[in-house]
Symmetry: C2
Subunit: 366 residues, 2 copies
DNA sequence: TATGAACACGAAACCGTTTTCGTTGCCTTT
DNA sequence: AAAGGCAACGAAAACGGTTTCGTGTTCATA
């Protein structure tokens, strides 16, 4: 504290004066404000504000005094007041269907990392795959709480095809970045991985290894990602000499796993390779065929989507199409913050397509 | 709109007047404020504010006019302004070490559900097990962004034993709820599960099944949970006729898994039962012993902690001590919000201890 | 000696609400 | 007719900052 000029006497009795409205006299150190500093140092609020910002307008002496005082009493500007003034909250809203899901979790981590580095906080809201919750959450946040949205659509929203809540928000000038589960009906930035390509490559992998009866276990088509993956699978088969057979595709009606359906499917179809749109379907299927005495990958091989813990620790470990959730989060956050901070009112939106990669593990030959 | 009295002419030309500072004349529907309504309806801001709150002070006529107008133009109060006025943000800050971790993920979901139901939003920050990040995140949020904290300590913080950032925050009157990874050095509400009991019961389960060489794979003691679990394990052995043997405990130095260490440990110690403080250690160990040709659970049985996807889909499925993360989240949120909203300055803090339950699966006999 | 920068600081508006405390005008009462 | 009461509304402060635009000194210059 060597640079506290002649403050000695003024500082000493300060604590008494500053205790606010008499509450909690004892230990509660109330937050100090510009006003408090101004009163104690007998200068104006504007001077204090400028001094703390090292403004040229203020003399060295005053600046030192103010800064020393602020440091001593641990002054920190009130975020809310700044937000109100700047109309910038430095918060970004993330609305996702589910958080107990490895993929979304990694995306959040990516968003968090990037956003934090740029001084933003992340408000997470869960739609729980429900359209109504998605709408309510967005409305709550859209009234000043956040500077922009990063979101992945709930399955119900994609099923309904109703995107008015998104349109309203963008019309208000709030930037939106959609990732993974997107729609083309809303004009905004988007980040996806090339699901079609991922499925295509995975299926080709099977083909190149001489697999003939390649099955697909997926969910209903209203989920944009499932649709794309089915397309890639289909295309790979058509590009090959194998015949694409619709009956080799099992579509689960919901996200929940119908164990019986899978069991029947595998028993009747007897595939020698199975592509699954997530880890769970794949790991569960592997257990089923192991119980039947089949060897993996010799008799039947598996590839899943999402490179989560399950894949890594399954027995045998599961080959997957990695979606790079963390990268996706980072890219989304970057696109959003760039847009938020750009003064220009560019009406240009881009869609970034990330490349999936195949993570080879023991569920296929290698 | 049957109750729009004689507004016709006034409303019709409103859109032109209200466009703000000339930006984006076309489609950007700027948010409307009390001021705008007041101007257009030629009443004062106070009147508008009161009318929208259905105040007795305002005449029926005026109230109807104002409310109809507000509805028509989709008026929504600005959260930030309200926060500044009320000194309540309706945001709660959640600081956790990691989000790509099933347990924390379920806790967040619990917090989210409960908080949302009470009109709160959740700001999530990740400490990534780093002390510094924990401090920075808390400081960012403590300046007005949130009404209270829910947190679980980073391993580095627990290792260091430095809790000044927590103390500062509580001294400022910001309520804190600590869950799972807690410390007794900070006076605040806490929620934990009875880790000691969980480990005790799990170990007893092994003993009752006639297991003799019961091992424990854990992390270093600075993690409060690991310490408690080790204690429960030890106690169960001491309460039995078996001799508790320190060499049957493997302490991993970090959260990361040292595969070699586990392999050596299992090979030299030849346990017939293993208790692991998480899923990953357990699932990985199961794979190792299966490769050696041992049968689970006949030759060697396993119990882990955390009822996540891994346990459910492992082969064989893993018996675990369930931590009820979602419940923990709900309870934490409830305690925090109750404290935030209670006017009373009670200086009474409580620690809620949740009971763990054993989820029996195929990794032990049953 | 009058002029005019340059310097150092303060007043006040503003962000969008809420809320207290007037201030009208009108009606009732004696 | 004066007094009082009430209904209906507005002015203004407050929340905690930022920022623009003065304004009063001081000092060098013509």
């Amino acid at each position: 504290m060597g640079f506290l000029p002649d403050l000695g006497s003024e500082l000493s009795n300060f604590p008494l004066k500053i205790v606010k409205q008499g509450l909690n006299i004892w230990s509660l150190k109330a937050k100090i404000t510009l006003k408090d500093i101004a009163r104690e140092l007998e200068v104006s609020i504007s001077t204090v504000s400028k001094a703390l910002k090292n403004s040229e307008e203020i003399s060295r002496d005053t600046k030192e005094k103010v800064q020393a005082f602020a440091k001593l009493y641990n002054y920190k500007p009130n975020n809310i007041a700044i937000s109100l003034k700047n109309k910038r909250t430095k918060n970004i809203g993330v609305v996702i269907p589910d958080i107990v899901h490895h993929f979304f979790t990694t995306v959040i981590r990516g968003i968090e990392k990037y956003a934090n580095a740029r001084g933003y906080n992340v408000i997470v809201c869960l739609s729980e795959e429900s359209f109504d919750k998605e709408v309510i959450n967005m409305e709550m946040l859209a009234n000043g709480s956040i500077d922009g949205f990063i979101m992945s659509l709930s399955s119900q929203t994609q099923e309904k095809g109703d995107y008015n809540h998104l349109k309203e928000v963008t019309e208000q000038g709030i930037p939106v970045v959609l990732f993974d589960r997107i729609t083309h009906e809303v004009e905004c930035d988007k980040v996806i991985i090339d699901d079609e390509l991922g499925a295509y490559q995975a299926t080709n992998k099977f083909i190149s290894q001489g697999k003939k009866r390649i099955a697909l276990i997926t969910t209903d088509d209203y989920l944009s990602v499932s649709k794309a993956r089915t397309k890639g699978y289909w295309k790979a088969l058509q590009d090959s000499e194998l015949e694409a057979d619709e009956s080799m595709i099992l579509k689960m009606p919901s996200m929940e796993m119908d164990e019986e359906a899978i069991k029947n499917f595998l028993n009747t179809k007897n595939p020698d390779a199975v592509l699954c749109v997530n880890e769970i379907f794949a790991v569960y299927s592997m257990r089923l065929v192991q119980q039947k005495g089949l060897r993996i990958p010799e008799d039947i091989a598996f590839i899943g989507f999402t490179d989560g813990v399950l894949s890594k620790y399954a027995n045998p470990s599961l080959t997957v199409v990695a979606q790079h959730g963390e990268k996706m989060g980072e890219v989304s956050a970057q696109m959003l913050i760039d847009k938020v901070e750009s003064e220009a009112e560019e009406e240009t939106y881009q869609t970034r397509i990330l490349e999936p990669t195949l993570v080879i593990r023991d569920s296929i030959a290698h």
